[in-house]
Symmetry: C2
Subunit: 510 residues, 2 copies
């Protein structure tokens, strides 16, 4: 027997064995929910928060000893061995659904969102054609038109797409704006053009700079605009930087507003920016990845006043609302531009001789080919709760942030707010350890204060009791402070805020 | 009571109600597996394939009547109503795990992959720092270094990242190559440079053209190279197009090879291309999104001969191997380039004053910020089966494709192959209806033949018995033919091929 038929029969033999074993292998899905429950991955009930750790933190080198990560050629594992491995993975992972995880811009999951995610993973299809995703194509369209309505567009106006995250959604904005300004870039590129300039505030998300790099503009042509005391882009500085760019021979074409900055949660003045953008002929994009959820709010919707006048915006329901990561929308008021900008003739996917209305094949609007069904989980959430419930939960999260500010002020000897008031559900503050209180606040005192948050963070990791992120803010020459961000889930009660502050005090004195 | 405190108390009221209802809401996760089973979403056992439809196809307008898609402000739904809605969604979705779904480049899921996907969705974290994804950070590193080893890199050489799909992975290749050639583009952009030119075969994936557009090169600077009879890029034509580009004043810098073209499954000559790329100083990227799975194969690994000499490649385990969508790897031989090219100073995420080794924070290599944990599902699959089992399954899938060719030849009066032999697991063929057999094959005859596949496809949709894709191939002036792609799952037996061909014949005569 030669080596080729040898390996050919080995393939057939293994294929048989795998085929016979498959019914058993599929049993793992039956057990996933139980595996997660056993390790308390969803630590949902407040009664559990005090008992269960958010994370059982171990250093990388130690973790490598605890879980056999090595992938081998021939080593196989039985269903029960794989389940044991999964238990270890869950055990040493961060429980982001624990009610005291406030470390990122996202928090606890909405169970309907997770159910939607599990179902789409199981149906494992792609958002490019009605043929392979009939229900999901209609659902994506429905969600997008609902969001266009919420944004204040007229009936039938607007278009959009789900993309794999806010950075990509912002890139869609830049690419569309460039295509609108100079459609020839699609074929000829940007060589030989005079530099196109992007404007965004110094406190905006880094994805704009990364987009400038990737899309060929260069980070130098992504110009940082100063912010005011509240973290909003200064329109005066924007205007003078536009003029400065023009005087260099650059062509201003795009301004990014931020609705909910990453650190302070500040909202730019969208109406003012819309006026300014109109005056200078710029595309106005709004990075509302964080703050877009205010669209649903009753009490705080005015934060987004002017949004309908922007040319496009990005919104991540996976942040405030508790949709599972990734759930990011790019929306534009320019109805046909997405398809015109991104489409290309693709015979094997977007045949025009199909037996159904091919306008339901939306894949050609995308820069991707295969694309996950991110719309369904969000749709299921909205169906379950109606958007008004989320609106009230967003309001509640912001109200809790205001309450936390009050409580921080009431502990003014121990805590210091970065801003007097924040606009959204972010609250930024320092903890002042006992031995630093009542001292003169010299430059040295502040330098020392900036080292406190990282030390408390370390204690947080080892105790697993609470997780709150920290960050410096270079644009204000500020060193490390805590940034606590409230989300729709967990739905916090007021007393939880005292528990949190008490815990930070406790860890701060260790 | 003024309107602000009115809506404030409405928020508190709703928050209370949602909080109280949450324990019930979380029950939906317990039921997801059962919901999927009830609707036979995983139609895994061959015994079911004849009885269960792959899709219950209805036209868009009708589907809108069958499922209430509308999102309302105040309408909420109970757990059991949501479960009924989910059942409808599952019912009218395509069962891509049905053993007779052969419509795309992906097929049935690997259950371990799906279990991994469910667990990462549940743990809902992001691949940027060790802090929020300790286990998953190590797992991504482990998978990447395993793939580097499989690609033939020396110990410690190579780097990579999971990206949201093959189009993005190919974009990583272009961006890295551009940065290597001209690091100043990161800051200054491409304005004023002489045009940089990309070369790729006329049968390569459209993502290269979309990348050329997005990244600012323009589609005109993405030059299509002719293919030979087997669908491979012609090195002679490449060389003359490089010279032609140079003579126009353009700067050739990037050649994309395809390992497994979308339609024919052709593999470019990587060794030949590596020689040519070296000669002309080009970055060689390999789009192995489809064919990368041959890395694991024993019998067919030589298809990728020369891969180790390429500067980078993309590989989607969500295609052949049955990992859930999205699971796409970008790998490069240039060890530190990803981080240097894409990094940016991001204080709130990538602090350097952390309490663990921050080299485990890999998010700065990415163009994204939040990034799904796509590594874990693939890792779990590899742990469960070892990579040699996948190797044999890949071999088996390719062997089945060869067997199908034989069977098509045995029915030569009714079927016609597009190529005599294909290299990978794709098989392309026409069905010749009874009333066209034995006739003179005039231009009209062929034109008529090209209308057959779309009609059979319509029958497939309504019968739900089998799904096989069809496509024309413009580069060869060929009209619609079927493209059947074998994947690791389902693990097919030989007799299944006759069942498939019989079914196409049956539908073809209706």
């Amino acid at each position: 027997m030669d080596s080729k038929s040898n390996s050919s029969s080995a393939a057939a033999l293994t294929a048989n064995r795998v085929r016979e074993q498959l019914p058993d292998d599929w049993k793992i899905l039956r057990d996933v929910h139980e595996l997660l429950q056993k390790q308390n991955a969803f630590c949902v009930s407040p009664q559990q928060w005090g008992e269960q750790k958010i994370v059982e933190f171990v250093q990388p080198s130690e973790l490598k000893q605890l879980i056999n990560l090595k992938i081998e050629e021939k080593e196989t594992h039985s269903l029960s061995e794989i389940e044991k491995l999964c238990q270890l993975v869950i055990r040493y992972s961060v429980k982001t659904s624990h009610g005291r995880f406030h470390n990122q811009l996202f928090g606890q999951l909405d169970p309907y969102g997770l159910a939607g995610a599990w179902i789409t993973e199981a149906l494992n299809t792609s958002s490019y054609t009605y043929e392979v995703a009939p229900v999901f194509s209609l659902i994506e369209t429905e969600v997008i038109s609902t969001v266009c309505r919420l944004a204040g567009y007229d009936e039938g106006v607007g278009d959009g797409i789900f993309s794999p995250g806010g950075s990509m959604s912002n890139m869609y904005g830049v690419v569309l704006a460039r295509y609108k300004r100079a459609p020839e870039v699609k074929t000829s590129g940007m060589f030989g053009m005079r530099p196109l300039a992007i404007f965004t505030s110094e406190e905006s998300h880094y994805s704009l700079k990364k987009a400038a790099h990737w899309l060929g503009f260069g980070a130098d042509h992504c110009i940082a605009v100063r912010t005011n005391g509240r973290g909003q882009m200064e329109l005066g500085d924007l205007e003078s930087k536009i003029e400065e760019a023009k005087s260099r021979g650059w062509e201003p074409f795009f301004v990014n507003a931020t609705a909910g900055t990453t650190v302070l949660g500040a909202f730019d003045d969208l109406d003012g920016l819309a006026d300014l953008a109109a005056r200078h002929g710029l595309w106005l994009h709004v990075d509302a990845c964080l703050g877009g959820s205010a669209l649903l709010a009753t009490q705080h919707r005015s934060l987004l006043k002017g949004l309908a006048r922007a040319n496009s915006f990005a919104w991540n329901p996976h942040k405030t609302l508790g949709a599972p990561l990734q759930c990011s929308l790019f929306i534009t008021r320019e109805s046909d531009l997405l398809a015109r900008c991104n489409s290309i003739e693709v015979n094997y996917l977007f045949q025009q001789d199909k037996f159904y209305d091919v306008s339901y094949d939306t894949g050609n609007k995308s820069v991707q080919c295969g694309r996950k069904i991110d719309a369904f989980k969000f749709w299921l959430m909205l169906k379950a709760r109606g958007y008004s419930q989320y609106g009230h939960l967003v309001d509640h999260a912001i109200n809790m942030a205001r309450l936390l500010e009050q409580k921080l002020r009431a502990r003014a000897d121990r805590f210091r707010l970065v801003l007097d008031t924040h606009e959204y559900s972010n609250v930024c503050f320092w903890y002042i350890p006992k031995n630093m209180r009542g001292r003169q606040e010299t430059a040295e005192w502040w330098t020392r204060l900036y080292t406190v948050a990282p030390k408390i963070k370390e204690q947080m990791a080892y105790s697993g009791t609470v997780m709150v992120g920290y960050t410096p803010l270079a644009s204000r020459n500020l060193g490390n402070f805590f940034r606590m961000v409230f989300t729709c889930f967990p739905v916090l009660e007021a007393n939880e805020l005292d528990i949190l502050l008490d815990e930070i005090e406790k860890l701060g004195e260790q």
